[in-house]
Assembly symmetry: D2
Homo-oligomer: 295 residues x 4
């Protein structure tokens, strides 16, 4: 869906406004309808707060209907029957459209177990998770009682809505829904930023394949030109940064042993805060290194 | 073969001395014969130096015969036909008796390529290498000329002999044929050695499976009770030490994020000096770590 | 002297232009005169390059006259007789107007020794030096021959001129005559930037008193709101940064020994590149710290 | 006093035993008398425990007499009148015989204040303190009540006694009355222990002069041949280790800036546990360093 400016939305007819924002909350245009009269909004944060307030003030049966309006995660049947464009993009982005048959079957069992216990689908803001952390989230939530899960579902729905709104609406202010992962390599042997180091970011998976999700070369300041992840939430999960340090020193003629004591350096860490800023620098010499969580 | 004391060897008959040391150099008792008259030896280093001098002074055709007395690496045919007990133990220790059919075939091709170029078998002191580094050694040596390779073979044969002598002969002095790999975990959050951390040492393999070759728990001094590798050469190759740091802080009630920023910390490094001392310590907090090659 | 915009200087009469820039090179308005016809200048770098080119192309006797137009460093007699406003400000900024009698006497002996050997005054761009490094510069240059020193003097005169021009002329571009010294404190115990740490920057002196030249408190990002030195050259010399780490952990209730293992942490380093960027961070826990030259 | 073996003391007459140990507790031979009949002692720890038990079981008036048998700290009058050889040596070792007139006067005021409040002298095991920490100890204890101070005095007296016993009696076991301060310099630029680095240990003083109390050169293992402090308690106080790192890299031809970014590196820390092991290593490159409290 193409982006719209907040000023256009403020100026639009009520129908136009609701048409534009009808799927911010899945299949639930009534939320947009209820805030239309509160226009103009000074910023997208104010707009989102208004929509969230509608959800929180809604009668329990309406909130339950909102929950039930959501599809199952990774359901082939529902995908075949048609999802909202938003749901479709979110699930594909998380790779849920490319599961093996066994994985689809596991998802289906999980969905069914959850649905048969609570009477509504398992909902999670998939863009804030890796596959491993979705599984862990599911296992932690299944033992809860229905009231807790209804509340948790609403929280996740609001997170989904905030991300949809962030993508759709152009405003002077931004919703705080993005994290950032960056690195920096400092060469303590040469006494300067380490330029030209190949860096890979790998998303680790307990189940299935780990996969490289970003590649970069450090610039003259020892940084990558772009954050390794930016402009979106950081999916909760385990990661490994890999730095080609052996090649770096070899190319600069620094004497090392053969094979070099340090070659590819892996830094393994977890992300727990999708909206946080993670700076994971590497300080190197041919025979030592350090890292720390910076900011 | 059971160990013998140097004083017993000094006191033995010439026949007894040659019988004991006849296979220190593979199928070549003439080397022991030539040093028998130089007894008594003050130590095992003096004994080894005498045997090595015999090899170095030997006529070229004798040296070639010594080289040719060695078996191929990982040859099923020769293993079936019978190796010296020493060769058999060395090749088994390096896992060369447990190769897949494809690996045996690859070895056979390599041996044949080498033998057809030089007219003698490819010899390497296998206890100083991992499988990866044997392959690299082979690839580096194959382009050499025959004279260079004859000399390299004698060097490797002397290394093999030194290790056999070290295992066989008990003396007040020791041959410098052993390396040592150790670690030490310091908890810079708690300000003390990190006790109770599970450590794994993995031998990394470019081809085939990486495998855990040592496991330990750090003691009250943050060290392992035994070196991770000791009492033998450190096989040239790439390794990874893995430390269960997340569990350590969890058990001590130190607040961390969920999942913890650091959980299992991998330190990846190479060993290039089989007789060296490698100390690879880890300094940790819940959000940072350092390592360096110590001594 | 009040600042002038480059566009005003471009539009000024020749006399106005020369009046404004006459003392950029000490008592030497002929340099400004020679570049006046080359106006308009696109930027201050172009203006400076033009003036410098005039100096470099000048006949040897003119260059010598330029050198001789400079005062002695820290001469009470010359100060009493009157310096240019620029020289006066530069010498005062370096504390050369507040020397003890013994120091004045030492300066006078040095000036006389230099002048009697070379026939012209010892010139150095004082804003790029501490007192210690001026002394070292003097001792290194005194053994030179006259040709070398004439060339060195011109270099220093151009540095002085660049700094005067930078202060006088407002332009879209800037001359690269400023350095920057900054710090950053990261708390690896708490896993976040260390806010609220008192920092002192001390200029160390081999002779005379060391003195505190900047004080700051780290902000929420663990940095100081302003660089410790910025907007001017970093004087070559030795420095110490002092961080009140003991108080920081005490106020946060982190258990430490009594007295705490670490209290005030001194980082001692030298600046050799007045136009460089020096970032000297501190990574701390209650029982460990690290620093490095960053960028 | 010359050392005696425990076996000789076990075999001695009662008079001989008491004569030897009569001043372990200042002017209080009755303590040695009471344990003489418990001989033989298996070790010096058992002997000390027996003597300490006598003190702890003694009637309050006897304990008070023991306290009052001690001299004032740094009293010129009492020194002139004669101290036990042990007291004299302890006070001299701590430099209390070399105070300025002002310092003597300050000590006298302190002693008098304490004595007039409690009726007995201020007692501290001076070998476990620097002058700064004695002052702090005094200031902390003066506000206490008499009962608390009587108990604290007995503790200090037992510490003094343990140190005297440790010096006097040779036994297979040792009393745990010694600490150790050591260092280790690792060159992370060269990838090996840093040999040949000059190290100074300075005892810092808030009042009066800081003073160098140990000097050493690092050996091939990057350590000092002897601990910086060993074989005695580590005086509670603040210290600075100074390492000549600039010279080290200069002599090895490592390119650095001029002046070098790092030259003399100071590590400032406090000792709080006189019987502890403090290992304060330094990891260096020409542009970075780290330290931590090791063990």
């Amino acid at each position: 869906m193409s982006q719209q400016s907040l000023s256009d939305l403020n100026a639009a007819s009520k129908d136009g406004f609701v048409a534009a924002l009808g799927n911010i909350f899945e299949h639930s245009p009534w939320i947009a309808e209820q805030v239309a009269a509160s226009r103009p909004f000074a910023g997208v944060n104010q707009l989102f707060a208004a929509m969230k307030a509608v959800v929180e003030r809604a009668a329990p049966e309406l909130r339950l209907a909102l929950i039930k309006a959501h599809p199952d995660l990774a359901s082939k049947t529902q995908r075949a029957a048609g999802l909202t464009a938003e749901s479709n993009a979110e699930q594909s982005g998380a790779g849920l459209d490319r599961l093996s048959e066994a994985e689809y079957a596991a998802c289906e069992r999980a969905n069914n177990a959850y649905r048969s216990k609570f009477g509504f689908p398992y909902i999670v803001c998939i863009r804030r998770h890796t596959r491993d952390s979705v599984l862990r989230d599911f296992e932690r939530r299944l033992p809860n009682d229905a009231e807790t899960e209804a509340q948790r579902s609403i929280e996740e729905i609001c997170r989904i809505a905030a991300l949809r709104l962030d993508q759709l609406v152009v405003s002077d202010d931004r919703l705080k829904v993005h994290g950032r992962l960056s690195t920096h390599v400092l060469d303590n042997h040469g006494g300067k930023p380490a330029a030209g180091i190949a860096v890979e970011l790998v998303e680790l998976a307990a189940l299935g394949e780990s996969r490289v999700i970003a590649r970069a070369i450090t610039n003259d300041d020892g940084r990558t030109d772009q954050p390794l992840i930016g402009g979106r939430p950081l999916p909760i999960g385990r990661y490994e940064l890999r730095f080609s340090v052996g090649t770096y020193y070899l190319e600069r003629g620094v004497p090392t042993s053969d094979p070099p004591f340090l070659d590819e350096i892996p830094l393994r860490f977890a992300i727990s805060d999708p909206e946080g800023h993670y700076h994971v620098p590497l300080l190197i010499t041919p025979c030592s290194y350090s890292t720390y969580r910076g900011s």
